[in-house]
């Protein structure tokens, strides 16, 4: 089982890296889908089947689909490739690369501070998660629904086009 974890991890990292470097946005999106699916597998191996399912359904299935819709609406396919290539020149990479590497180094350093511990045995049922959600985390659930409502309102407002002039 551990092997699956590491394999899925490698896939996730590789596909994310590829996503970053594609001039064709649609290709990048597809790579992102693969990455998310790999992450779902990882989550499963960590003993969280519920969230693994959620990852696939909501993250890959709803959010990324939204992305696909927008990309298609904006026609960011093949015809935007030259522009993207231009923007992806070598000049853009050094600074962000440096920053990211430092960040990564710090995170790894912090993460490896504790003594090596194995995760507790056994998956965690959806039942337990549900009990937690309706138990101590009830307020958080309500708040997140409020958040989504706010998002809806915001989107509605943002999506309005200015009224056409009266002729």
């Amino acid at each position: 089982m551990n092997f699956v974890f590491y394999l899925a991890g490698a896939v996730a990292v590789l596909s994310t890296a590829l996503m970053l470097t594609r001039p064709n946005v649609v290709h990048g999106l597809l790579y992102l889908v693969i990455s998310l699916l790999a992450v779902a597998v990882i989550l499963f191996t960590l003993g969280a089947p519920f969230v693994a399912a959620l990852e696939v359904i909501i993250y890959a299935g709803a959010i990324l689909v939204l992305f696909v819709f927008v990309v298609m609406m904006l026609d960011l396919g093949r015809q935007s490739v030259p522009r993207e290539r231009l923007w992806l020149g070598l000049r853009a990479w050094p600074g962000p690369l440096a920053l990211t590497l430092v960040l990564l180094a710090e995170v790894i350093w912090i993460a490896t501070q504790g003594s090596s511990t194995r995760s507790a045995a056994g998956p965690i049922d959806p039942e337990a998660v549900g009990a937690a959600l309706y138990g101590p985390y009830l307020v958080a659930v309500e708040l997140s629904s409020l958040l989504l409502l706010a998002a809806v309102v915001g989107i509605y407002h943002l999506g309005q086009r200015p009224a056409r002039r009266r002729n």
Partner: protein, 632 residues
Amino acid sequence: MPGLLWLIPAVPLASFLALALVGSRVPPRIVSLLGVGAIAASTAVTLAEAAAFLGTPPEGGAWVEPLWRWIDVDGFRPMMALRLDALSLVMSLVVTFVSLVIHLYSVGYMAGDEGYARFFAYMNLFVASMATLVLADDLLLLFLGWEGVGLCSYLLIGFWYRDPENGAAARKAFLVTRVGDTALSVALLLLFTRLGTLQIHGLMSRAVRDWPSGSALPVLAAALILGGAVGKSAQLPLQVWLPDAMAGPTPSSALIHAATMVTAGVYLVARTHLLFQLAPPVMLVVAVVGGVTLLLAGCSALVQHDIKRILAYSTVSQIGYMFLACGVGAWSAAIFHLVTHAFFKALLFMSAGVVIQAMHEEHDIFRMGGLRRPLPAAFWGFLIGGASLAGLPVVTAGFYSKGLIVYSAWAGPGGAPLLWLASVVGALLTSLYIFRLIFVVFGGSSRTIAVEVAKRPDWTELTSMGVLAALSVLGGLLYLPPWLGDHPLLGRFLERTLPAPSRVVAGLSELGSEGVVTLAFAIGLLLAWWLYRVRRPLPVALAGKVGRALHRFWFEDWGFDLAYQWILVRPFIRMALANKDDMVDQFYRFVGWGTVRLHQAAARSETGRVRFYAGGIVLGSVLLLFLVVLFR
């Protein structure tokens, strides 16, 4: 009676305040009444005090009238107190009486001037300060009066302020005397820290008790006091301000720069004579300064054109005589000459004022001439005053006072033949320059175009001149020498406070010395007659190249003005210009500039680009995590 002394400075002070506040709104007659009346009141009080002092002489020779405690800080407790002893009584009489006469003269002289009330206000303030100076029991109070007269001198020199040259002359006077004032302040500090008090009598007795004669401290203190006196009395090397001070109105020149303020230095030295006696080297310096100054100024007076400048250099020279007297230990002789000098010099200035106003404000003597008939009052004034100045034997006061000093220069405790010789030569020069003035201005025929007189002297001017003329003649009666009756009234009177004149060195009798002085006087008179009456050419044509150079040198006051200009004034102005942008200011300006620069640099980070800001967020989180890593 000690109780009324305070009125002497207080009444003129009150009059000053009244005139300063409302004088310009009041008719001139009230102004003159107030101005002259205040001084008359002071004079009356002084005379009353004199009568009481002479009638019932006090114990210890002095009345002290404490007024109130001035300062009370940690052991420094000077009192406001007035002291009346022989010396201050004589000075007060001179100050108040001569001021009264000059104030009366000013009523006529300054009539019609737009600053009439202001003039009397300043003059009254001056008398109040001078009276404070003279009557002070404490050196700090004396210093207050000292500064006050310096202020009034400045105000009166620059009286006609609309002309910037007058302002420059006033500033020059103030700054040069300031050098002396600084020396005096240091002296006061020294005396206080070492002896614990500034009350004059106490100070002197402590000094005599504690300080051995000739040691460093009294020498230093006396030298510093001498510095102050030299500044105020326009002696070497600080004499440069007095000739320029003639820019002020003639009555103020008469009062301040002839009779009273410039003699304050002599008074100070006489007051602190015990201290000077503890410092024999300084006494020698005093005598030498006096001797050199009297010769220097005499030479300078010989070549001037401006009528008032001649008199100014003459004043410097005569005060040199007083310093010489102090330096050789003839204190009462110095005071005697101070008194007679006040009389005849004020008279000379008044007469000069009459001439100037009559000649449409002309000052150059070589553009006057033949004024004997049109201006008889001025002529007699100059004649009597000039004779007294030069020392016409027997019938003038100046003869006696100057003769006494000349003899003391030989025979006094600090006397030396060289000093005696200098004073004799000085007498010759004095006679020469004053008779030169008289012959040029009054003799011969007129050299000017404007023949008719612009303004004739009125009764106030004539009365005051008459009074002073009488005193210039009769003043000698105060101190008759042994060979002419031996009634040294003034001398004996002053012995209550000042040391008695002693005749130490023999070799020349008083009569003999007087004879030599008379000879000098006669030679000077004849020389002046010959040069300016008989031959009549300008003296410059007489001499060759050397003569011309010498003339120029003496005209420029032996180059002192030029020296000061080059050594002090120019470098100072250059430094001031170099620091025009004020280094200290630059520091603060730099702070502002730096802040603006920092702002501009910081504003560059506001690029408006999202990715840049995102990078900033990442950088921030990197730094925060770094802190976590660091403090794990």
